[in-house]
Symmetry: C2
Subunit: 480 residues, 2 copies
């Protein structure tokens, strides 16, 4: 079993990403199903951690889960004008059933605003039925020309929240609450990834939304990854699907709706933000295995003694930390160290005969490779030490990503500076340009406005393309 070769980030960041996925055994390409991947157990386990953390937050903020059909009548997609324009070219269409041609074809959901809107129109009658706060965990399909595992796949897994409100203010407040209290909170605290929060420009907003809000995270090549979006859909879908309610004032009104989602692309964000040239690094709070214990022994006699010591040492760890004892006897400790490093386990504990004598263990941090991250620790109070260390690593990963983003965020005042900045990271610029100006910059610099950030300056400046004075700043970046 030779070691998988990982291309260094400096040499080829794109290849590095694919190499890490292969070496950590996270996914497989499904050539037989165009644009799809298999989420292998190591990759899927990260998604399960993400689901758990998000589902808790979604429920704590008053939402419940439900499940709507995979198939949507094709005619539904055309009911909202911008929506059909955005999604039609990507749709998988079902024309046959058991060999018979269908009179009314279906499409596989690319997102579920339309089919859910259809049901909400039947469920919502009175102001007493509002707000309606439902989330769905589901698979969706959109054809993609270029596949990148986790980041861009024809089928992906996600959650999509769909809510209905009596007023625009309530819909807006929900949309922002999800962005702040659910998405940002989860990505920053659990994924250890700082996010930029803001609003999308009209060019970049969701097809059919009034306003789209986004969280954007910087990857290690300085590009931005859209980690989650939350849409105030206004009355666009309630008018297309006739979601009306009798208000307290006894008049019939169109409701206001929101939708919001994050997907398995978060796995891609996690890989690209934290990992290194040795392989994957998983933040401790999300790690399916937080600590791996490797017994060190030269022969069967030593093996029995060491395994007994390991069993004793870890006897009270269950449900306190997520750990694994790697007691395979056909591979060397060195092989094991390498394997668990590649797979991103935050802490490795080594225990051999000399450690038993000294009543100590060796503890190695995944985020600090080599000797710098290794220490010898007493077996007394080891569990408490490991629990503290996991939090230390979690914080260290966040701080490192935060520092990286700070170092790579530039304030620019003209297009030349903008071009230099987006080659390295985020560019903050005053902006009063048109949609055509946005297109021009995208064509010339391969960069887009990722967000109109919530934190805006107190004084005005001149737009980098039009020269017009404005108080609005935007963040440009190249993106995934």
């Amino acid at each position: 079993m030779p070691k998988d070769i990982i291309t260094p980030r400096e040499k080829d960041y794109s290849q590095w990403y694919l190499d890490v996925i292969k070496a950590a055994d996270l996914a497989d390409y499904a050539e037989v199903v165009k644009g799809c991947i298999v989420f292998k157990p190591n990759g899927y386990a990260i998604w399960e951690s993400i689901q758990k953390g998000l589902d808790e937050r979604i429920k704590e903020t008053g939402h419940v889960n439900a499940y709507f059909p995979l198939l949507i009548p094709k005619s539904f997609i055309t009911k909202e004008a911008e929506h059909v324009e955005g999604f039609a070219p990507e749709l998988f269409e079902i024309d046959k059933l058991g060999g018979d041609i269908l009179a009314d074809p279906y499409v596989i959901r690319p997102t579920s605003e339309t089919i859910i809107g259809h049901f909400y129109a039947q469920w919502v009658n009175s102001w007493r039925d509002l707000p309606l706060l439902i989330n769905q965990w589901a698979n969706v399909m959109r054809m993609e020309k270029r596949t990148r595992p986790f980041l861009r796949t024809a089928e992906f897994l996600w959650q999509e929240g769909h809510t209905v409100h009596a007023t625009e203010e309530e819909a807006e407040s929900e949309t922002l609450m999800i962005l702040n209290d659910v998405y940002s909170d989860f990505v920053e605290k659990e994924m250890a990834l700082p996010v930029l929060r803001g609003r999308k420009t009209d060019k970049e907003k969701f097809a059919g939304a009034l306003r789209t809000y986004t969280i954007e995270a910087m990857m290690q090549d300085g590009r931005s990854l859209q980690a989650g979006t939350s849409h105030n859909l206004g009355q666009n879908f309630s008018k297309a699907f006739n979601i009306t309610f009798l208000d307290k004032d006894n008049t019939l009104k169109h409701a206001w709706t929101s939708s919001w989602g994050v997907s398995t692309r978060l796995i891609g964000a996690l890989i690209m933000a934290h990992s290194d040239d040795e392989g994957l690094i998983i933040p401790p709070r999300l790690a399916p295995i937080q600590v791996v214990v490797v017994p060190i022994c030269k022969n069967d006699e030593e093996r029995a003694v060491v395994l007994e010591a390991v069993t004793k040492l870890t006897a009270h760890w269950k449900r306190k930390i997520r750990f694994k004892i790697d007691d395979r006897d056909h591979v060397s400790p060195g092989f094991k160290y390498n394997e668990w490093e590649t797979k991103g386990v935050p802490i490795r504990v080594e225990l051999g005969p000399r450690d038993i004598e000294k009543q100590s263990v060796a503890v190695a941090r995944r985020d600090i490779p080599g000797k710098a991250g290794k220490s010898f620790v007493s077996q007394d109070g080891l569990l408490e030490h490991l629990i503290d260390l996991l939090e230390t690593i979690q914080t260290a990963l966040f701080n490192r990503a935060f520092q990286f983003r700070t170092d790579r965020t530039f304030v620019v005042s003209d297009e030349v500076e903008l071009g230099e900045a987006v080659a390295k990271g985020f560019a903050r610029a005053f902006w009063a340009g048109s949609r055509d100006d946005e297109d021009k910059i995208q064509n010339e610099l391969k960069a887009t406005i990722r967000a109109i950030p919530f934190d805006q300056p107190e004084t005005a400046g001149r737009c980098i393309v039009t020269g017009v004075e404005t108080t609005q700043q935007v963040i440009f970046a190249r993106s995934y």
Copy 2:
């Protein structure tokens, strides 16, 4: 808000089932997507409880989760001869993508043996790669002529386990372990539903399996519901998809595979087994809400006092039991009692001004309607009382279902007795008949062999159709 009318079971059991689903707000019909339903929040929450209990058991027995593509190349389905015969008439076919005709059409997975077999052939090389123990939580689609919510829907949710082994014995042992330690254990302990365990006849086995094992549960009309199946696939799929491995003896061998699944039809089983003419009854261990607290008050002044007492009373309940305080002020206590009864919450706690004086509460059991199930209990130690009572109810529901099944299981010795027995419940009969004999009985009596039960008699008897002496008994029943 008028009370939903529930047809009594005695009058029309089928209509009763649909009425309970409607009254408890568990599902909605998706007429626009043929054969599909919406799993509404109350119904989906039961599925989430089922998922949790099963996922724990699946993982504790050494399996990991993964996710494979929704779409399967149509050509894959035809690779295993029995498999294609079983599934071809039910397949949803994708012929178009973004308006373009696809040269190689896909089908939506009806089950994933074929696509997973394709990947396993690439992943399995050596005996060291075995056993491969993977489970998937997913949606699948099979066209059904008649839709019944939860029991028979075109799209349903399930888990499907797919494992690979070096020997037939190991595959057999896995297949049985899943049936016993995962499925039976879950359904009996968590769903409070006794199951009959056994093997399917060749007529009734999975399309492509060597042997299919089943758990069957009796519903309140005496029919059997197949609650889960586990298949030893032999080498049928490993030969069709070329899953081979280099064994310890250095020869290349075809592997042995298994697959096993339970689905959202378990929600149907839960409804039909336990519920009554008042509505749904959910076993406490699965209940999303185990205890509902209803404050009783006549005016705003009382309301403030009672709500304060309720808050104080329930302050330490969090994470101990799953409870809800129903503090709505626009509906009466009676309305609330009725609503939570209909929705199947196991225990209702009532608290009013007189209870505050007496330092007691009223506690009503859902499984024993009316005064017989109501008692007055001290507020001291109430939480412990409720925790005990939840277990008491769980056991009572199991015992009731067990007694019901016992009363409705008959040993029969000829076809006349068989006909009488299957009109009421299970019929146990000696059997040495052919597949044609099975077909004949199905045509005449609308009953099938549900299982060749694991518990077999010690002495022989005469087959009820052929008169031949045999030691094999089978269980006949009408089924869902």
